[in-house]
C-alpha cells in the first residue's frame, strides 16, 4: 500500500514537472535571434519594421570548422520587413514567415528612420521599455533614408557576426568623437527628463562614392574633416554603412542634425569628448595652411551657473583641452617655447568660436538643450516643485552661455624640432 502511494506520488510529480511544457524553455534551434531592428514610416500603416536575423549555421560554419567547406553559401544575416502598426505587432506578423520564435534578446541596435524620428518616438520607446526581452544597453541610431535599405545593405566585410559591428562602433566613438554613443536607456531617460534633451547618432548608406566630396579650404570650403554627416562622406569600397553626426531631438521629435565637427564641440561641452584629430589654420602664415593637433579633454568642463533676479540664467563654461602637435604643414617651428602659446591661443579661439556657434544654433534653431546645462542649474533648487515651475527647457533659448577654452600643447610627437625643408644654411 505504501509502495503504491509512493509510486503515485512520484508519478504525479514527474507528470506535473514534465507535462507543463517545461515552462517556456526554448531550445536554441527554436529561436531566431534578431540582431538589429529598423523602423521606417509606412505608407499605409504606421511603420515598416525590418529585422535582421542571425543565420547560425553560417556563422558557426565560418567561425568553427566542424562542418568543413569554405563558403557555405548564404549570408550570415537574413533581412525581412513587414508593414505594420507597431514594433511588437511587427514581430508577431513576421513570425508567420519564419519557422521560429523571433527573439529580441540579442538585439543590439535599433535604427529609426529620419521621418519616423521627426514624428516622435516616445510611444515606441515605452512599448519597448516594458518588453521583457529588451536589452536596455543596446544602441539606437537615426538613419537618413530608409532603415530597410540600411539593414539590407549593411554588410561589413570584416565581421562574422553583425552585432560586433554595433558594439565596436561604441569604442570607435571614443577614438574620434565624430559621433556619439547612445544607449537605449540614455535616450529613454533623456526623453522623460526635465533637464536634458535627447540626441542620437546618425547612420546612413552611402552609394555615391567620391562624388559627394565637399570643397576643401583651398577651394573655398571648410577646413575640418568633420564637415560631413552620415551618407555624405566620400568613401568608396565594399563597406557602405557610415556613422557620422548627430540627430538633435526636442522632447521626442527630431528637429535637426549636426555634422561631425559640431558633434565634437557638443561632446566637448558635455565632457564626453575623448580623442580626436582637429585641423586649424596656421596663424603665422598668410596662406591657408593647416596645423593638425590630436586633442583630448583633460578634465571635465567646469560650469558656473547664475540665476539672476529677473529669472534669466547665465552659464559660464570652461573647457580644458590638451593637444599633441601632429602635423605642421607650413614648417614653422611650433615646438619652440615662443611659438607654442600662439598656437594654443589660436586653437582656443577656434574652439570657442565653434562652441558658441553651436550653442547659438541649438538655442535658436533647435530650441533644445542637448548639452545638459539643466543639470547644473538644477543645483540651485532644493525641491522638485520650484524646479518644475522654473521650466528650464523653455527658458534655455534665452540663457546666456559663455564658453572659455584653455588649451595646452603637451607633447609634439616624435619630432622635437622642425627644420626648414631646404637643407641647412
Amino acid at each position: 500500500m505504501r509502495a503504491a502511494k509512493l509510486f503515485i506520488f512520484f508519478l504525479v510529480v514527474f507528470t506535473f514537472v514534465f507535462l507543463t511544457g517545461c515552462f517556456g524553455s526554448r531550445e536554441t534551434d527554436e529561436n531566431a535571434f534578431v540582431l538589429a531592428m529598423g523602423f521606417d514610416k509606412g505608407e499605409k500603416d504606421n511603420m515598416v519594421v525590418t529585422v535582421s536575423i542571425a543565420n547560425p549555421k553560417v556563422i558557426a560554419g565560418m567561425a568553427g570548422g566542424a562542418g568543413g567547406g569554405a563558403k557555405e553559401g548564404g549570408k550570415n544575416v537574413i533581412v525581412q520587413s513587414v508593414e505594420t502598426y507597431g514594433p511588437i505587432t511587427g514581430i508577431e506578423q513576421l513570425s508567420t514567415a519564419t519557422s521560429r520564435h523571433l527573439s529580441l534578446l540579442h538585439t543590439k541596435a535599433y535604427i529609426f528612420s529620419e521621418e519616423m524620428a521627426k514624428e516622435g518616438l516616445a510611444f515606441w520607446f515605452s512599448t519597448f521599455s516594458r518588453h521583457y526581452e529588451l536589452r536596455a544597453t543596446s544602441y539606437v541610431f537615426v538613419c537618413r533614408g530608409k532603415a530597410k535599405d540600411f539593414l539590407e545593405k549593411n554588410q561589413p566585410p570584416l565581421e562574422i557576426s553583425p552585432t560586433k559591428q554595433y558594439e565596436l562602433i561604441g569604442s570607435l566613438s571614443e577614438a574620434h568623437g565624430l559621433y556619439q554613443n547612445v544607449m537605449f536607456k540614455d535616450f529613454y531617460q533623456d526623453i522623460k527628463s526635465w533637464t536634458t534633451q535627447a540626441s542620437m547618432p546618425l547612420v546612413a548608406i552611402h552609394e555615391g562614392g567620391l562624388e559627394t566630396a565637399k570643397p576643401g579650404v583651398k577651394k573655398g570650403g571648410e577646413l575640418t574633416l568633420g564637415k560631413y554627416i552620415a551618407g555624405e562622406v566620400p568613401i568608396t569600397g565594399e563597406n557602405k554603412a557610415q556613422f557620422d553626426g548627430t540627430a538633435v531631438f526636442r522632447e521626442d521629435k527630431m528637429v535637426g542634425t549636426l555634422n561631425g565637427e559640431e558633434t565634437r564641440y557638443y561632446l566637448m561641452l558635455r565632457g564626453q569628448f575623448e580623442n580626436g584629430y582637429l585641423i586649424m589654420l596656421d596663424p603665422l602664415v598668410a596662406e591657408l595652411q593647416g596645423v593638425g593637433l590630436i586633442v583630448h579633454q583633460a578634465r571635465s568642463p567646469k560650469y558656473v551657473t547664475r540665476i539672476n533676479e529677473d529669472g534669466s540664467v547665465t552659464i559660464d563654461v570652461d573647457l580644458y583641452l590638451e593637444a599633441d602637435l601632429a602635423a605642421v604643414l607650413s614648417g614653422i617651428n611650433y615646438e619652440s617655447p615662443d611659438n607654442k602659446p600662439i598656437i594654443e591661443e589660436a586653437f582656443s579661439e577656434k574652439i570657442k568660436e565653434g562652441c558658441q556657434k553651436l550653442i547659438k544654433r541649438t538655442q535658436e534653431e533647435f530650441k533644445s538643450d542637448i548639452f545638459g546645462f539643466g543639470q547644473q542649474v538644477k543645483g540651485h533648487f532644493w525641491t522638485m516643485q520650484p524646479w518644475r515651475e522654473f521650466d528650464w527647457l523653455n527658458r534655455y533659448p534665452e540663457a546666456q552661455v559663455n564658453v572659455t577654452v584653455h588649451t595646452r600643447i603637451r607633447r609634439t610627437g616624435l619630432q622635437l624640432k622642425t627644420s626648414p625643408a631646404h637643407g641647412g644654411e
Binding site: F16, T20, G21, F23, G24, L105, S129, Y132, R135, A136, T137, K164, E167, K185, Y188, Q189, K192, S193, W194, T195, G372, Q375, Q376, K378, G379, F381, W382, T383, M384, Q385, P386, W387
Partner: protein
C-alpha cells in the same frame, strides 16, 4: 515560564545575519519603486526615518522582553492581558499577521520570478516551489535556517557589491538633485510611514529564546536593522544615480532593471540570471522564517508541545491565500496599502500597549502599597 517547545540555539552573529537578510527581502520586489514615487530624487533619504522608528521599536521590544527573561513575547502577552484576551491577541495579531505577510511574500516573489525568467509558467507552480522550500526550512528548524543564512550571506553581499561597482560608469550624480526631491515633508513623513513597516521586530520577539535571550536582543536588533536599512538606502541611491527618477518610477522591479544594465564590454552583459540565485535564497529564507514564526507563535499560544505538525496546514494556507489576489497589481496594492499598515500593529503598538499596561500596574501597586 515553561519552555514548551524545543528550539535549537545559535549565536548572535547568525541571528543578526538572519534578521538582516529577512529585512533585505523587500528590496528585490517592487518596493523601491514606491519609495521613488514618494521621494523623487531624494528617494534614498526616505528610509532614514524608518530606520529611526525601527531602532525605537527594537528598544521598546527589548524593554518588554526584559520584563520576563526566559520567555518570548507570546508568553508575555498572556501574562499581561490574561489568558483569554492574551491568546486572542496572540493569535489574531501575531500569528495572523505573520501568516498574511508570508502569503503576500510568496505571491510577490513568485510574480517577480515570473516576470524575470519563467514567463510562461503557471504561478501556482512557482508558488508551490517557494512553499516547498519554506516548508523544508521551517521543518528543519530555526537553527538550520540561521546556519544557512550565515553560509549564504557572502553571496548576497557580493552580489550587491558587484552591482554597485559595475554600474559606476553609468552614474550621474546630478540625478540626486534637487536634494530634497519632492519636499522634505513628503520624504520624511510618508517615507517613515512606508519604511517602518517591517516584520522583523515581531519575529525577533518570537524567536528570542533561540537567539540567546533578552539581554542581547537589543544588540542583535540594532545591528540587523542597520544592515537591512543600509542595503535599502544603498540600493535606492544606486537606482536613482543610474536611472533618473522619472524613469525609476516606471520599473516594476527596479533591482532587476539594475541588474540588466550591467555592461562590461562585449562579453559581460545581462547577467540578471545570477541575481536570480540571490533572490531565490533571500525569498526562500524569508518565507521559511515567516512560516516558522507563524507556526511557533501559534503553537506557543495554544500551548502545544511541538510546532511541526502546524507547518503543513499553515504553509498550505499561505499558498492558497497567496493565490487569492487577482493580479499582480492587486497584490502590490495589498502590500502597500494594507500590509504595511497592519504590520505596524504587532511591531510597535503591541510593545507600547504592553509597556503601558505594565506602567499602569506598577502605578497601581505603588499607589496601593
Amino acid at each position: 515560564m515553561v519552555k514548551i517547545i524545543k528550539e535549537g540555539t545559535f549565536g548572535p552573529g547568525e541571528a543578526i545575519i538572519l534578521l538582516g537578510i529577512s529585512n533585505i527581502a523587500r528590496i528585490f520586489l517592487s518596493y523601491p519603486r514606491s519609495l521613488v514615487e514618494i521621494g523623487g530624487s531624494a528617494a534614498w533619504m526616505t528610509p532614514l526615518g524608518g530606520l529611526a522608528a525601527a531602532l525605537a521599536g527594537i528598544y521598546l521590544m527589548s524593554l518588554v522582553l526584559k520584563k520576563s527573561p526566559g520567555s518570548t513575547i507570546i508568553e508575555i502577552t498572556e501574562m499581561v492581558f490574561g489568558p483569554f484576551i492574551g491568546m486572542a491577541v496572540n493569535i489574531l495579531i501575531i500569528a495572523h499577521i505573520l501568516e498574511m505577510g508570508g502569503a503576500l511574500f510568496i505571491r510577490e516573489f513568485s510574480e517577480a520570478m515570473l516576470i524575470t525568467t519563467l514567463r510562461f509558467a503557471p504561478i501556482s507552480v512557482i508558488d508551490a516551489v517557494f512553499l516547498a522550500m519554506g516548508l523544508l526550512g521551517a521543518y528543519l528548524g530555526i537553527e538550520a535556517l540561521a546556519r544557512t543564512a550565515r553560509l549564504i550571506y557572502p553571496y548576497i553581499l557580493g552580489g550587491l557589491i558587484i552591482l554597485i561597482f559595475t554600474l559606476i560608469p553609468f552614474w550621474n550624480f546630478h540625478n540626486l538633485l534637487p536634494v530634497f526631491g519632492k519636499g522634505p515633508k513628503e520624504v520624511f513623513l510618508l517615507g517613515t510611514y512606508s519604511t517602518a513597516g517591517i516584520a522583523e521586530i515581531i519575529i525577533a520577539g518570537v524567536i528570542v529564546q533561540a537567539m540567546g535571550g533578552a539581554e542581547i536582543f537589543a544588540r542583535i536588533g540594532y545591528r540587523s536593522m542597520l544592515i537591512g536599512f543600509a542595503f535599502l538606502i544603498i540600493t535606492l541611491a544606486v537606482l536613482v544615480l543610474t536611472y533618473n527618477w522619472p524613469i525609476s518610477e516606471e520599473f516594476t522591479l527596479p533591482f532587476l532593471r539594475l541588474a540588466r544594465t550591467i555592461y562590461l564590454g562585449r562579453f559581460i552583459q545581462r547577467l540578471e540570471a545570477i541575481f536570480i540565485l540571490v533572490w531565490v535564497f533571500v525569498g526562500a529564507l524569508k518565507i521559511a522564517l515567516l512560516l516558522y514564526g507563524a507556526a511557533v507563535s501559534l503553537a506557543r499560544s495554544l500551548k502545544l508541545p511541538d510546532y511541526r505538525p502546524l507547518i503543513w496546514p499553515l504553509g498550505l494556507a499561505m499558498f492558497i491565500l497567496g493565490l487569492l489576489p487577482l493580479d499582480m497589481l492587486a497584490a502590490i496594492k495589498l502590500d502597500i496599502v494594507y500590509l504595511r499598515s497592519f504590520v505596524l500593529i504587532p511591531n510597535y503598538l503591541l510593545p507600547l500597549l504592553i509597556l503601558a499596561v505594565f506602567w499602569f500596574k506598577g502605578r497601581r501597586e505603588r499607589a496601593g502599597s
